[in-house]
């Protein structure tokens, strides 16, 4: 085990995958000479040269489509979209092409592609630079979507994504880049579509992903100490495919669920998870499923407004309280 930042985990994995497979190349805006807007690709142009680390003009649809075309001929592109907000410009190539080519042409041509992109708010970047648009992609058959919360998962999932024969949206988060964690040594991978129980518990389950999973783990540990509440935290890690089994088994055990997500509540990840739980664990639920999600506004710039719009630890604790009160009533009844 070695401790490193989420950023370092991504950087090292990209470097190793470039070394491992000649077909892997990086492509995106400002990833070479500028070394990446968030410096994930720092030093890689010098080490691998402009053939393997390709700077593009500002044309998301063009260079994402280029990567898809290159993948059709057997290369394994890793695209960086500077932030997920700019991915709107590449929707046609991702949704109408990357997601469709294998199926629509009768399984003749896989598209082994990774699109790395950070989402998330909290940096006062305001409405067009702070979004969580991952559900757009999780909605689409043919795509895979992963959203690691820890440096270890970032590394293991990025390796798997690069070696997968399908288009994978790899969601990062601006506020996670400097977070630190233990990362196993060696060429380990984490399967796409497997959730992880970050902390075991028996009173209720918090289901989350990406940065919110880190906050959830924090809250769960704190409430365990302060109130002796035993909270299970499940990080789904992959949004598509979604690991129903781990989530459902956890809620069958704890009988209560809170979904904690940074995206907007309506039609969000929580909506999908809540629907899954009522379909597959209806008889085990002792309380309505709670969703703690982003306020339904374009994220504002001003600090107090931004903080009010983002889902917070405080809101999560309030949701725990709502469920805990219900629990007490049940116990007294």
């Amino acid at each position: 085990m070695a401790e490193m930042t989420y950023r370092q985990a991504l950087h090292d994995t990209l470097r190793e995958e470039l070394q491992r497979d000649e077909n892997v190349f990086l492509i995106g805006e400002e990833i070479g000479r500028f070394e990446g807007s968030y410096k994930i690709t720092a030093g890689l142009l010098q080490e691998f040269g402009p053939k393997r680390v390709v700077d593009t003009p500002i044309c998301e649809n063009g260079f994402v489509g280029l990567a898809i075309g290159a993948a059709m001929l057997g290369l394994r592109p890793i695209v960086e979209i500077m932030t997920i907000n700019f991915i709107a410009l590449a929707m046609d190539e991702i949704v109408n092409h990357a997601a469709k080519i294998y199926y629509m042409f009768g399984g003749q041509c896989p598209v082994p592609l990774v699109i790395r992109t950070p989402g998330g708010g909290g940096q006062q970047l305001s409405a067009t630079h702070s979004q969580n648009l991952e559900v757009w992609f999780a909605h689409v058959p043919g795509l895979k979507v992963v959203a690691p919360a820890t440096p270890a998962d970032a590394r293991g999932l990025l390796r798997t994504a690069v070696r997968d024969d399908n288009p994978v949206l790899f969601l990062e988060n601006l506020a996670l880049y400097n977070t630190r964690g233990e990362v196993p040594e060696g060429d380990y991978t984490i399967p796409i579509g497997k959730a992880q129980v970050m902390k075991e518990g028996h009173d209720l389950t918090i289901i989350s992903y990406s940065r919110m999973a880190v906050v959830a783990l924090d809250v769960a540990r704190r409430l365990e100490q302060e109130r002796q509440l035993s909270i299970e935290v499940v990080d789904v890690r992959s949004l598509r495919p979604l690991d129903h089994e781990t989530v459902v088994n956890s809620v069958k055990k704890t009988n209560r669920a809170i979904i904690f997500e940074e995206d907007w509540r309506s039609y969000g990840v929580g909506a999908e998870l809540a629907a899954t739980l009522q379909e597959e664990a209806f008889d085990y639920l002792d309380a309505p499923i709670q969703r703690v999600a982003g306020a339904e506004v374009p994220l504002p710039y001003s600090k107090p407004l931004e903080q009010a719009a983002l889902p917070s630890a405080r809101q999560l604790v309030e949701a725990v309280d709502r469920l805990a009160i219900r629990k007490r009533r049940v116990v007294y009844a």
Partner: protein
């Protein structure tokens, strides 16, 4: 380069001047090859007429866009490439697929939604595909295929391969972002790609000059310092020569090109389009310039095709189309059990 007057005439829908291609090409190509071009043109003509008929008989569903009237452009384009080059097209692609070696039977089966179709019945008319023949897809979203074609060319350059990519599109595509992003990337990275704009003068019902501030579409390439030219799309040999030259430059010099072939579709945008937006005399004038008749006349005048040969070729093409329909009719539909096959690669498809 053409005169300004010619450009103006073409932009007004009159078509480029009826220029003869260099005689050297006719003389330098063997008779069998030239007759085969004729065969391919009439094969497309019969195939598309039959596809229209099968559509009205409800054997074919969805959208169905025909190459009728564009046969010289289709055959000339495909003939200008080598067998191992990669081709991307838009959704008006039946003829291109056939010319690149996918059998008409397998194309017709795809139109019928059969398991034996070239996309296993998953794609339909707009999404023909054959990896072995490097026919990399018909694409239903206008402009969608351009970045993909540029990416395929990127992969070829990455590997130092000698093949090239050819990418067909319609006139309306030149007004959208993917066109401009793709031309810029192709030129910036010096990728081996040939863009072909089939200017059939209408994007659905919108005339080129109503949709494009620069109706001389080939001139748009100059924004990217890319070589480009306009050819008479009713002249098979003119298209062939332009594509062959552009392909050679892409192969040897890693320079992309754009070719505009001025053409005309004999029918509406798709089979169901009643075609009310085009003046009757304009349609009539272009039908008189039927590319198949023009080419037949040239072959006859050169003493390369007598009437008996012409009839024999046409009969053979008709038979091949009949055989295609028979194959499509008799083929099995995909099983509903296979619905989830091919969603994901490498996982039993699911």
């Amino acid at each position: 380069m053409e005169t300004r007057q010619q450009r103006k005439a073409a932009a007004q829908g009159a078509g480029p001047a009826d220029s003869r291609p260099p005689a050297s090409l006719l003389k330098g190509t063997d008779r069998e090859t030239l007759l085969n071009y004729y065969y391919q043109m009439v094969l497309i003509r019969y195939f598309e007429e039959k596809a229209g008929e099968m559509y009205t008989r409800a054997r074919i569903g969805g959208y169905c866009h025909l190459n009728l009237g564009e046969e010289a452009t289709v055959v000339g384009f495909c003939a200008g490439l080598e067998a191992d080059d990669y081709v991307y097209t838009n959704y008006r692609e039946h003829g291109y697929a056939i010319c690149r070696g996918i059998s008409p039977a397998v194309v017709m089966a795809e139109l019928f939604g059969k398991k034996t179709g070239c996309s296993s019945g998953r794609g339909g008319s707009m999404h023909l595909f054959d990896l072995k023949r490097r026919f990399m897809g018909g694409y239903g979203i206008v402009g969608g295929q351009l970045p993909l074609a540029v990416g395929a060319a990127f992969a070829l350059a990455y590997r130092g391969a000698r093949e090239i990519v050819a990418c067909q599109m319609g006139d309306g595509t030149t007004n959208g972002g993917p066109f401009h992003e793709s031309l810029n990337l192709a030129k910036l990275y010096r990728l081996p790609v040939v863009f072909l704009v089939v200017n059939n003068q209408y994007g659905m019902g919108t005339r080129v000059d109503q949709g494009s501030a620069v109706p001389d579409l080939y001139r748009k390439a100059c924004a990217y310092d890319m070589r480009s030219e306009r050819v008479d799309g009713t002249d098979l040999l003119a298209v062939l020569e332009a594509v062959r030259t552009a392909a050679r430059i892409a192969r040897e010099e890693r320079e992309p090109s754009l070719i505009e072939a001025v053409s005309y579709r004999f029918r509406g945008h798709s089979v169901v389009d009643p075609d009310r937006y085009r003046p009757e005399d304009e349609v009539r004038r272009w039908r008189e310039r039927d590319p198949i008749l023009l080419y037949a006349t040239r072959l006859k005048e050169a003493g390369l095709m007598d009437e008996a040969t012409r009839q024999e070729l046409e009969t053979r093409a008709q038979q091949e189309v009949e055989e295609a329909v028979r194959f499509a009719e008799e083929s099995e539909l995909p099983s509903v059990e296979e619905l989830y096959d091919f969603v994901y690669a490498g996982e039993g498809g699911r």
